[in-house]
């Protein structure tokens, strides 16, 4: 009995020490991630003055947000952002990955170059792009278009183009890293598959369609959901480019939250909007978890 008890006791002490080792990190997670999430839910039910809660108001904040004209615009824009990021952002990295795999010269340089925009601070790239999109003759893209005998264009000032152009800058920045993930997956495809297909008479296009694409389909699904999740967080681009404009054409949900919180100092309203966004993200994450689990099985 005693002999059996002893290791168990020791085990408990080890458990305690282990938890103590993990405790500082868990406190940080609690302070920076978990508590603010719960705090948000609490705040969303209160009216606030600066950072103090004043009175419990139930669902009033939600009501205010849902009937806000700006919210309707931001909500509509989110669909537009998602749609454009599917059209532009989803296929570009895949194409880049396939193309670079098919080169034998300068491959390392290509990998490095397409990843480079990723390493640049997003704030700096947003400023740079904002000068690319200047509507006058001195805007960089208008200079280039002018050399080809076109333009000048209005770029971001044209509300039909604001969101697609923002998505293009986002894709420019992040496509390289996704392309590298696709490349790693393509490289792990067994050459035997291609050789067998060749013997069966498959041309290059057929091999891409029947071997490469199906092999990266699993990871592409994951990337798609991650991309949609990140689209919900767009904040800095619309804020710095046109401050949500022209005429709310590019305002995003996160930007509206920032406005509620730091322009209107209405913490309750900001909190209820972020709870709404969180609910959407949790649903999307659930889908993501399911997709990755399927991949593992």
């Amino acid at each position: 009995m005693k002999a059996a008890n002893k290791p168990k006791e020791k085990f408990r002490k080890r458990d305690l020490i282990s938890w103590l080792v993990m405790l500082p990190s868990l406190i940080l997670f609690a302070f920076f991630v978990w508590e603010p999430l719960l705090e948000n839910i609490r705040l969303s039910f209160y009216s606030t003055k600066m950072y103090e809660t004043v009175a419990f108001t139930g669902l009033k904040n939600y009501n205010l947000v849902l009937h806000d004209v700006d919210f309707m615009a931001a909500f509509k824009n989110t669909f537009s952002y998602t749609l454009w990021s599917l059209v532009i952002g989803f296929f570009v990295p895949m194409i880049i990955g396939v193309l670079i795999t098919e080169t034998v010269h300068l491959k390392g340089f290509f990998r490095m170059a397409v990843y480079f925009p990723n390493i640049m601070p997003s704030l700096a790239t947003i400023w740079i792009w904002s000068y690319f999109f200047l509507p006058g003759a001195t805007g960089v893209l208008n200079i280039i278009a002018g050399k080809m005998g076109m333009g000048p264009y209005e770029w971001l000032n044209d509300p039909r183009w604001t969101i697609p152009l923002i998505i293009i800058t986002l894709t420019w920045k992040s496509a390289g890293s996704t392309a590298l993930i696709y490349m790693a997956n393509i490289a792990s495809i067994s050459p035997d598959l291609y050789e067998a297909a060749t013997i069966d008479g498959a041309g290059i296009m057929q091999r891409i369609r029947h071997i490469t694409i199906p092999s990266i389909f699993g990871i592409a699904k994951t990337m798609l959901i991650l991309q949609i999740i990140s689209v919900f967080q767009i904040l800095y681009e619309p804020m710095i480019f046109k401050n949500g404009g022209p005429n709310n054409a590019s305002i995003s949900l996160m930007m509206l939250m920032y406005r509620y919180g730091y322009r209107d100092y209405n913490v309750g309203k900001a909190a209820s909007l972020s709870v709404l966004v969180c609910i959407i993200l949790v649903i999307l994450s659930g889908i993501y978890m399911r997709a990755t689990r399927e991949k593992e099985n």
Binding site: I96, V104, Y131, T212, M239
Partner: protein
């Protein structure tokens, strides 16, 4: 021809060594090469442009319809650097980065050590919570977080910035995956030699985990350099302003275009230098999905 000979040794991808004999495939290979070169131009052009544009003065910038500046005058750059006191912002950014990177390694590493090796009773619950926070971006609760920072009186201090990097679910997962690959026999042997839990971490785990430490160090350094929403809220208006906070504040203060561009140029120098030195580690880390998000 040398250009096509190398295709004979091609190991991955659709085009195989035997395909390249056909003229059609040769043309295709050339087209792919050209498209890739074009992609390189698109990727690198904005950085190159901001470098060139930084040499222009405001008259040249607003009037001349050219990409290249009239002359390469470093004193203009230096003028903006001094006028905006960039030495101070660089110093502040350095302070922020060092703390952030240290926190990222220590706290995420220790937590991953708990999840991967120690596995105390009930660790699965904590792991589940960490995994879920992977999915809900911290930016959604920035208002509540900033309120909390205010309430405990840590506003206008580097401390919340540093510690915010100690709670990154992504790096926890990265560390955890690596730690799980370390042979258990080594750890058992150390335990028999009487090493405590922390001793094993410092003497066995860390020396064996150099590659992952380098990856997390590099990515946390570049992330800390680019980080600006929390630093902006916490540090704006103090003498602790970092480079990104300054760059963000141009949004609200009218500044001439050339100064903003030069500031943007100053902001991309350090990450570019780090990338030039560690490009292998960075692209390999990115290829394994180490920095998604």
């Amino acid at each position: 021809m040398w250009f096509f000979d190398k295709y004979n040794d091609k190991k991955d991808g659709v085009i195989r060594g035997y395909d390249i004999r056909a003229t059609k495939v040769k043309i295709l290979a050339l087209i792919i090469m050209l498209v890739c070169l074009l992609m390189v131009c698109v990727s690198l052009f904005p950085a190159l442009w901001v470098f060139l544009a930084s040499f222009k003065d405001i008259k040249e910038f607003t009037r001349n319809v050219t990409i290249f500046p009239e002359k390469y005058d470093w004193s203009r750059m230096l003028g903006t650097w001094n006028a905006f006191k960039f030495t101070k912002y660089y110093k502040n950014s350095l302070i922020a980065i060092l703390g952030c990177s240290a926190c990222a390694i220590i706290f995420n590493g220790l937590l991953a050590y708990g999840f991967a090796i120690l596995k105390p009773k009930g660790h699965k619950i904590a792991l589940g919570l960490v995994m879920w926070s992977l999915m809900i971006p911290g930016i959604t609760s920035i208002v509540a977080l900033f309120r909390n920072i205010n309430l405990i009186g840590l506003n206008q201090s580097f401390i919340p910035i540093w510690f915010s990097f100690g709670a990154n679910a992504f790096w926890v997962v990265l560390f955890k995956q690596y730690f799980e690959g370390i042979p258990k026999e080594l750890l058992e042997a150390a335990k028999l030699d009487g090493c405590g839990v922390l001793q094993i971490f410092i003497k066995i785990m860390l020396p064996l985990s150099k590659p992952i430490l380098v990856v997390v160090a590099i990515f946390s350094i570049t992330a800390a350099w680019s980080d600006f929403l929390l630093p902006y809220l916490v540090l704006n208006g103090t003498d602790k302003t970092t480079v990104m906070v300054k760059l963000f504040s141009f949004k609200d203060t009218p500044t001439d275009a050339v100064s903003v561009l030069r500031a943007a140029f100053f902001a991309i120098i350090p990450p570019t230098v780090i990338f030039a030195i560690f490009q292998r580690q960075i692209t390999d880390g990115a290829a394994s999905g180490a920095v998604k998000g």
